[in-house]
């Protein structure tokens, strides 16, 4: 008996692939072409050659924005990873107080980026917000000081995303076999060495996955910064995605904006290749679990 015709034909996959192709894959190719054009957004893009690219090389504002993006991404990773890891491992315990606290910890997940940015903007308002509540300490201008604004944005972004990553770590920690800990306790291992010798190594793939998600997310953070600081004060928080938006949709230089977009895509795709590796590993493991 032939079973071949009982299998789903390739048409079952065509809607998904076609859809993704038109609105995600085609744009990736188009943006490369647009980076070689002059285009104001309404008329047809006019081919320009490498002019945008040579402009990018000599544009100090672009260099500044890319530097800020790298700094922002590194800081966001360095703040979020340890905090999320510790909260995740802590809340993986089954104690009742942890379950209650845990459900409070995850509430920021429910607020949209716009809501969070607006909330923090008014909370950090020097006249009517937190600085007013603790006026005895005279807090600095978190969003108005060019030296502090980027760190403040990193804090707000971390506030928003640490719960998600903590959730990843919580799930992964619960999957660690408890027998490993029992054995370590019998051997007299201290709480710290159990964390270092069992928990951390067991979580290494989760750390990789979470880090990749963080980096891709940070590279393209846009709405938080737009609402919180608008890139200011001055250009102190104008990271690359915001510079791209300002150039393209405010200054109507869509061609040059595409050049910045290509750079972001190259960063992102490099990370996505690493992610493919991790994902493949996961597929293998999930099949083993299914047996």
């Amino acid at each position: 008996m032939s079973t071949v015709h009982q299998r789903p034909s390739l048409w079952y996959a065509v809607p998904a692939f076609g859809f993704f192709g038109l609105f995600a894959a085609l744009p990736m190719v188009l943006v490369l072409y647009l980076s070689l054009t002059s285009w104001q957004g309404l008329e047809t893009p006019a081919f320009l050659g490498l002019e945008n690219w040579s402009r990018l090389l000599t544009d100090p504002a672009a260099r500044e924005s890319l530097g800020l993006t790298v700094l922002f991404t590194a800081l966001a990773w360095a703040v979020q990873t340890p905090v999320a890891l510790l909260i995740g491992v802590w809340s993986a315990g089954r104690q009742r107080n942890r379950a209650v606290l845990g459900s409070v910890f995850f509430i920021p997940l429910l607020l949209s980026t716009a809501a969070i940015a607006l909330l923090w903007q008014s909370l950090l308002n020097p006249n009517f917000g937190l600085p007013q509540a603790v006026s005895a300490f005279s807090l600095p201008q978190f969003l108005g000081d060019p030296r502090l604004a980027l760190y403040t944005v990193v804090f707000v972004v971390s506030w928003q995303y640490i719960p998600f990553h903590a959730l990843l770590y919580q799930g992964a920690t619960r999957a660690i076999p408890t027998t490993m800990y029992d054995a370590a306790i019998i051997d007299g291992a201290s709480r710290f060495s159990r964390f270092r010798l069992i928990t951390l190594p067991q979580l290494r793939y989760t750390i990789v996955t979470s880090s990749i998600l963080m980096v891709v997310g940070s590279l393209t953070t846009f709405d938080t910064v737009l609402i919180l600081t608008g890139g200011g004060p001055g250009t102190a928080t104008r990271i690359a995605p915001l510079y791209m938006y300002d150039t393209g949709f405010v200054g109507f230089e869509m061609g040059y904006a595409s050049t910045i977009a290509v750079l972001l895509l190259v960063f992102g795709t490099t990370v996505s290749l690493i992610m493919m590796r991790v994902t493949r590993f996961r597929e293998m493991r999930s099949q083993q679990e299914g047996q």
Partner: protein, 274 residues
């Protein structure tokens, strides 16, 4: 070795510290939204509101909030419907079809997992204007769904891979074609994955910012997140009014959270958390 473990004091202190970092802003949000403007301008921002009032909520609801909310619901429902309609059959094909086109397409789709949506916004704008969809809700729905598809298909495929081959063979013996297998076998078995993907897509669509910002213009197509930003300009110094709008925008999803906390939390991490 049944001795109870000593309490971990340092971790407990850390947990309480984090509770303060999370809870104080949330408390401030609700408290400030209940303040009259005098109370806001002169009172301590962390004190309980002196004369709690719902006036701010009334003025927000009168200011177009309902329209924005409806738009957000339409965008979210549309994106979820498209993603599920595409991802379920695609995952079925990926797990069961021997077609090389399907397997290569799946690899490409996985590469899309980390495409930063913002970086492709300019060509998406070009495509949407050429399709004459600019300033419609469909203009927001289509790209939102497209960028949710890689994760959706991956989660769905992972869940179908755990289905034993014998179940498919039993369907074949019964004489079921692929379409009947899809509805009789695949859909019921993939139910947890469908819930997960639905929640994930819904949250993405609900909170979307850049697609509505760039692809719509008029008040009739404005979504909630964009509406909040608009309120910021409109309300000027009326911060309690703005925060009432923020609180209102959180309420629908908070109700969903209270009802389906377990689904929501597992849905948020599925595909990565394994």
């Amino acid at each position: 070795m049944l001795r109870r473990r000593r309490p971990n004091v340092m971790a407990g202190v850390g947990a309480v510290l984090w509770l303060v970092v999370v809870a104080v802003p949330l408390y401030y949000l609700v408290a400030a939204s209940l303040r009259g403007s005098e109370d806001y301008l002169s009172g301590n921002p962390l004190a309980l509101p002196a004369n709690p009032t719902l006036e701010n909520y009334r003025s927000v609801l009168a200011g177009g909030f309902g329209r924005y909310l409806l738009n957000n619901i339409i965008v979210t429902a549309g994106a979820v419907a498209i993603v599920l309609a595409c991802a379920v059959p695609a995952a079925y094909a990926v797990t069961r079809s021997s077609s090389r086109f399907v397997q290569r397409g799946f690899t490409l789709l996985l590469m899309g997992l980390a495409i930063p949506a913002q970086a492709t916004i300019i060509p998406v704008y070009l495509i949407i204007t050429n399709l004459r969809l600019y300033d419609t809700l469909l203009a927001v729905i289509l790209p939102t769904a497209a960028f949710a598809l890689p994760v959706a298909t991956l989660v769905m495929t992972n869940s179908l891979r755990d289905v034993p081959k014998e179940l498919y063979e039993a369907q074949e013996i019964d004489g079921a074609g692929p379409l009947r297998t899809l509805f009789n076998l695949v859909l019921p078995l993939a139910k947890p994955a469908v819930v997960t993907v639905g929640i994930y897509t819904a949250l993405m669509a609900w909170n979307g910012f850049i697609f509505p910002l760039v692809l719509t213009q008029s008040a009739e197509t404005r979504t909630l997140t964009l509406g909040l930003w608009e309120f910021q300009g409109q309300f000027g110094t009326n911060v309690p009014g703005l925060l009432a709008a923020v609180t209102l925008s959180v309420l629908p999803i908070f109700v969903v959270y209270l009802v389906g906390r377990r689904f929501l939390l597992s849905g948020l991490t599925a595909g990565f958390g394994r």
